[in-house]
């Protein structure tokens, strides 16, 4: 399966994501410029972390208008895999591909740390490599990671089991229901604030991100994605 990592002006974790994919899967992903509209060649598309367009106005507010987002929307619609990490998650929210929005962290500071994150479901193309309820140690690094959605949306997310990751320790940013990662109804679009691409080696403090990346490639094979 071919994998794309989208590069927006201001993306900081694009190379980290490429490095992690290369390290875990041995395969070489394509670094795709945000101006490319057609992403039909790709079975999985990563929207990496960073400060696209400087995160000016709102994190992800401007990036969602990039041409590549048309390709991302089409991939989401026809069942291919889309993964938005940190800034990527913010872009998916602003684009309406996932419900809700990100507010400033409730303590009003940027927070960078390795935090405990619980896996809420394993029957998804992203978490099949984990055990149900397993608590991972994943790095977070954001200033606007305080997930918000109105009561109705939250209730629907929980009822339809669309919350995939939840902060297990102290809530690091004030997110409602300690939500750290969610999927869309079809389950092929994931948005998560923690950075799996930074947790791929013991020396970096955790290897818990490897199983997520491996699961995505595995799902690509099972679904004969292009």
């Amino acid at each position: 399966m071919r994998v794309a990592v989208i590069q927006f002006p201001g993306s900081n974790c694009d190379m980290d994501t490429v490095l992690a994919l290369r390290d875990v899967t041995g395969a070489e992903p394509d670094l795709v410029w945000h101006g490319q509209r057609d992403l039909s060649d790709y079975g999985a598309i990563f929207l990496p972390g960073g400060f696209s367009y400087g995160d000016y106005l709102r994190a992800g507010a401007i990036a969602r208008f990039a041409e590549a987002m048309d390709g991302v929307r089409r991939a989401a619609e026809d069942g291919r895999l889309v993964i938005g990490i940190c800034n990527g998650f913010q872009i998916l929210l602003e684009a309406g591909l996932l419900p809700g929005a990100m507010l400033h962290n409730d303590h009003l500071q940027f927070r960078c740390a390795i935090v405990p994150v619980r896996v809420e479901r394993t029957d998804t193309p992203f978490t099949s490599g984990y055990a149900q309820g397993q608590v991972l140690r994943l790095p977070i690094a954001h200033g606007e990671g305080n997930y918000y959605a109105d009561g109705e949306t939250l209730e629907a997310l929980e009822r339809n089991r669309r919350v995939v990751f939840r902060y297990a320790g102290e809530n690091p940013n004030g997110s409602r229901n300690a939500i750290a990662g969610i999927v869309n109804e079809a389950g092929n679009v994931l948005g998560m604030m923690p950075h799996p691409e930074r947790a791929v080696h013991r020396l970096l403090g955790s290897e818990d991100g490897r199983a997520l990346i491996a699961a995505i490639l595995q799902a690509g094979r099972e679904r004969q994605l292009v």
Binding site: P9, G10, F51, G54, L204
Partner: protein, 660 residues
């Protein structure tokens, strides 16, 4: 220009004083020019001859620094120093101060300090891989100091996080002398292959000179002399420099892409004194001249005079000299990244910096006069009176505490020694997924992915020792920085520095400066860590009070095998060994308590002399410690510094979560 003062008025009303120049310097400038300078020319002289750009009070003393070594690929004189780390790889690094702007506007002062030092590194052709910052404030029990701390940290985080360079180290200390004069020193480290090395020279007659990056506004006009005038609170507070980390991220990518084409003759960032200093310094290094037209410089504000364009310190701009005919290569790359790129003139061989405005010549000054002929002062030095009083202190006069555990808790509660996680958890210290040793240890280690190598980094200052004994303070600053690198398993290679001192025109301050440089030089020689770049920040003085002498050292080392690195976190079952000189002879204990954290926090006294430092012993202790880590004998290591053995053991217990 119509309203600009004429040469006559400048001389008659001594207007040069408003630009920070003395009468003697004005006459010297006229002599070199062969006529009286007009307003624009006076502006060029005033910024190039400011303390910040010319190092006029420090140049002669700085010659003492050892700057050579087999590992040194580029020593002082360029935008950053470059050191070989083996296998064809090298690191470029430098440290710079932004103290005065941070006293006025702490967030932007700190942010633009980070932005400026990043440009000094990637202009050498290196990709920035780490940032560190060394901060000093007044005691934190005062709301204003807490505001400055909060805003400076937020500014560093705001810029470093947005541009995607991990902020992995540094320190924060508090002392009364910084109350009205905070120190914000920022260090950047970049990685490159030897062949990527780019230099800031304007060679080749006819080659095009280009301004690239952001548009030019009236930001920080006179920032350079502004930095050298005495009291930050009374200065002209209009044009605050504002940083745009998003644009700088694009500038880093565009410049590295441009340098890789091989079509770049020379490149330099526009820091203090903007276009003037970058143009003059690049021409001076090549022995050439420049003929530039300010009307061609892309602007952000209307109605700017040639004086303002030449002195503007707008951020995120670079000066580039391209191979003749290769302008389009730069224009295309910068257009892709959404940045400005404009040809503003040519390199010449007449040794002149000629400035035009729409073709009309508005300034013409020999480059030599601006760079090489800047005045050099040999300031008088006199040992401060207070040293004799400090050294009169006798250990026996100080009562022994009844309970040592309470003394330890007092020390651990000291703002200087307290845990600084509240600061560094606001910095993204893991972006670029290469941080093998994260903040909180003795030094940070950046793993060069795809190899077994790591780069170790730390910053250190002399604490109160430099006030009690500037010579010993300089030695301690270098020795401790090298010791911290060794404690993570790295071989120290070289250092950069930020020499923060008060008003050099005061003999006591100049004595502190000269002695500190002497002390640093001796330690560098014995420990084999030459000085490859750095910065001097004088006039850190407010309401007549000078800051404590604060030579900050930024040290870089190499870890040959990242599997063999160390942190202070020990584990159950390990034996604890103290390595170093034997305990002091009985009755001599006082020698080791002078200027100590214990004396200050428990007894409220600053007194005594700095502890003795046998550099030869230091070298052997560091070599033994490094060997032990390399061989896998040592599983944890930590240096004994402020707070002594008790605090060092407590810190290892806290890091490991296990007592001893």
């Amino acid at each position: 220009m119509s309203n600009e003062p004429t040469a006559d008025r400048i001389e008659a009303e001594a207007l040069y004083r408003d630009l920070g120049m003395t009468g003697e310097e004005y006459r010297r400038a006229a002599e070199l020019l062969g006529r009286r300078p007009n307003w624009v020319e006076l502006g060029l002289f005033s910024v190039m001859w400011s303390e910040h750009c010319s190092y006029k009070s420090s140049r002669r003393v700085l010659r003492r620094f050892p700057t050579k070594g087999p590992q040194v690929l580029q020593g002082p004189g360029e935008n950053a120093g470059v050191v070989d780390i083996g296998d064809g790889l090298a690191v470029a690094f430098k440290m710079e101060s932004h103290n005065h702007p941070s006293a006025i506007e702490p967030y932007q002062g700190a942010a633009t300090g980070v932005g400026g030092i990043i440009r000094d590194v990637f202009t050498m052709g290196a990709r920035p891989i780490a940032l560190l910052d060394s901060l000093r404030f007044g005691p934190p029990d005062d709301a204003r100091q807490r505001y400055l701390l909060r805003e400076v940290v937020a500014g560093i985080a705001g810029y470093g996080n947005a541009i995607g360079i991990p902020t992995v180290g540094g320190e924060v200390k508090f002392a009364e002398s910084y109350r009205h004069n905070p120190l914000v020193n920022a260090m950047c480290v970049g990685l490159m292959r030897h062949e990527d090395l780019a230099r800031g020279t304007a060679r080749g007659v006819g080659n095009p000179v280009m301004v690239v990056g952001a548009r030019t506004g009236r930001d920080g006009i006179h920032g350079a002399t502004f930095a050298s005038a005495e009291d930050p609170l009374e200065k002209e507070r209009s044009a605050v420099q504002v940083g745009d980390p998003f644009m700088e991220k694009l500038l880093v990518e565009a410049c590295l892409e441009l340098i890789a084409t091989g079509a770049v003759v020379g490149i330099q960032d526009m820091g203090a004194a903007g276009l003037t200093s970058s143009g003059a310094e690049m021409a001076s290094r090549a022995g050439s001249g420049l003929d530039i037209d300010v009307a061609l410089v892309p602007r952000r504000e209307t109605g700017m005079t040639p004086y303002e364009v030449m002195l503007s310190e707008s951020q995120e701009r670079m000066l580039v000299v391209m191979e003749r005919g290769k302008e389009s290569v730069a224009e295309e790359i910068f257009r892709k990244w959404g940045l400005e790129a404009a040809v503003i003139g040519r390199v010449t061989d007449d040794g002149m910096l000629r400035v035009r405005d729409g073709g009309r010549v508005v300034a013409e000054v020999p480059v030599r006069a601006l760079v090489d002929e800047a005045p050099v002062y040999e300031r008088p030095a006199r040992e401060p009176e207070e040293l004799r009083a400090f050294r009169a202190w006798r250990w026996e006069e100080t009562p022994r505490p009844q309970r040592l555990d309470e003394a330890l808790l007092t020390l651990l509660g000291s703002p200087d020694l307290a845990d600084k996680e509240w600061v560094w958890r606001q910095y993204d210290h893991m972006v670029q997924a290469s941080t093998a040793v994260r903040p909180g240890a003795d030094a940070a280690v950046i793993w060069i992915r795809g190899t077994r190598k790591g780069v170790a980094l730390c910053t250190d200052g002399p604490g109160r020792y430099a006030r009690l004994n500037p010579l010993a303070g300089g030695m301690h600053a270098v020795a401790e920085a090298a010791r911290n690198l060794v404690c993570v398993g790295a071989r120290p290679l070289a250092i950069t520095d930020c020499l923060n001192f008060g008003n050099p025109e005061k003999p006591e301050v100049f004595y502190q400066f000269r002695q500190a440089v002497e002390g640093m030089s001796r330690a560098c020689e014995v420990l084999g860590t030459p000085v490859v770049s750095g910065n001097v920040s004088f006039y850190n003085e407010s309401k007549g009070v000078d800051i404590d002498p604060t030579p900050i050292v930024g040290a870089v080392g190499v870890v040959d095998d990242v599997e063999r690195i160390c942190t202070p976190a020990w584990r159950p079952g390990l034996t604890v060994i103290l390595v170093g000189p034997g305990a002091p002879a009985s009755g001599e204990e006082g020698a080791w308590l002078g200027g100590s954290e214990y004396l200050l926090r428990v007894h409220g006294r600053l007194a005594g002399d700095a502890p003795p430092l046998d550099l030869e012993m230091e070298r052997r202790v560091q070599a033994l410690c490094l060997e032990a880590i390399r061989r896998g004998w040592a599983a944890a290591a930590h240096d004994v510094s402020e707070g002594g053995l008790a605090v060092a053991l407590a810190e290892m217990a806290i890091a490991g979560g296990v007592g001893a």
